[in-house]
Subunit: 257 residues, 2 copies
Amino acid sequence: MCELLGMSANVPTDICFSFAGLMQRGGGTGPHRDGWGIAFYEGKGVCSFHDPEPSAQSRIAQMVREHPIKSHVVISHIRQANVGRISLENTHPFCRELWGQYWTFAHNGQLDQKLFQLPLGVYRPVGTTDSEYALCWLLGTLREAYPEPPATPELFRFIRQQCDQLRELGVFNMLLTDSQHLFAYCTSKLNWLTRRAPFGEASLKDDDVVVDFCQQTQPGDVVTVIATEPLTENEQWQQMRSGEMQLFVEGLAVTVD
Amino acid sequence: MCELLGMSANVPTDICFSFAGLMQRGGGTGPHRDGWGIAFYEGKGVCSFHDPEPSAQSRIAQMVREHPIKSHVVISHIRQANVGRISLENTHPFCRELWGQYWTFAHNGQLDQKLFQLPLGVYRPVGTTDSEYALCWLLGTLREAYPEPPATPELFRFIRQQCDQLRELGVFNMLLTDSQHLFAYCTSKLNWLTRRAPFGEASLKDDDVVVDFCQQTQPGDVVTVIATEPLTENEQWQQMRSGEMQLFVEGLAVTVD
């Protein structure tokens, strides 16, 4: 299993605190030694780092941890390889352009070989993971169904329906974003938490770090963090149900239907 | 004008020395203050860094400079903005997937507004630069002409023909790679140099650095560096002609036709 980390915020926010916890799980407190990656959005642009080295020892991870890149949407992943060898092209998150937007995706879980029989459209995988194949299939069907971007509720329903289909092939926890929308789909394990005023202190489970968000935030800030396992021990995380998809926009959980 | 830097090598090679020279031109010895980016290939995978900050002051650039990422193909760019505001989505190099390969592209020059009338196929720009539009058009026509990748000579001729068309719209110096092939097209300014045994010393024009490649290389290594302006002062650079396209594979200039 791999670990996912996502963030959605209404103001550019740095993810250093949550990232510090996640990175320890990559060969430190966890078994996820097979690479890691992170994508930060600034507007429609995305800046990403990928490293096939264990995150706990990675110099790039160290820099990301210490370098407060402010972003409104982040997706990160640390990998324990199952399908696909350890290499840069198999390192999440994966990205493709659709409708003039960069779509970034990370997956935790494992899908049946039958996945590779699903017909691909425009997008082809570069590496050999089930995850990248699933993204290529999903975006290919999305593009075929909608030559132009649909309204958010329709987009939500279409993506959920495709995720339901992937869930029949195994474990499919994922984070997907187009820079505006952040979709989180759960099969087995995904938790999220929204921080907003009044802000308090939070202490990381995996590392000896406490942050007082009160000192780092403005009263109007809203930030949601999504992670495979709760990253802090003194906050109330929402556990997602199997088959549930949740949309986040500008830091807030948005209900669609 | 922006500055381009490319590398093709037959063994994983670090580009720290050339990158050190280029980065000084980003707000140090040169006027290219409007962001920079670099893409490193390892096999079919690509790891890239993009920063809208001036490269001479960039902490990410500092890390890339000190962190010897070994790669067989590299494309880098520092920007002096003309078309498109300074932002992450307008920062080169740009990347799209075609035929299951990541295609990375950087451009120096400026193209006429007529460019934006060229019809796009599958790929759409995310930002507003002429450069990203040109890439989307070029790859769209390539995909339409060849649903599957053609042989290298045919690929070369098709890309050169499309570049010739872009050159009619203005200044179009570019570097383009699919991880195996590195294409360099010149309208006004592009220079290259192949280093192979016997290796000697090289000293950077822009920074007080001398490298003895003899101590860093094996006798069989072949490395080509391509840059807008020669980066070293004591080596013989080949100046490209206007309308010339040169292909590099595994460090060597390859003649096609």
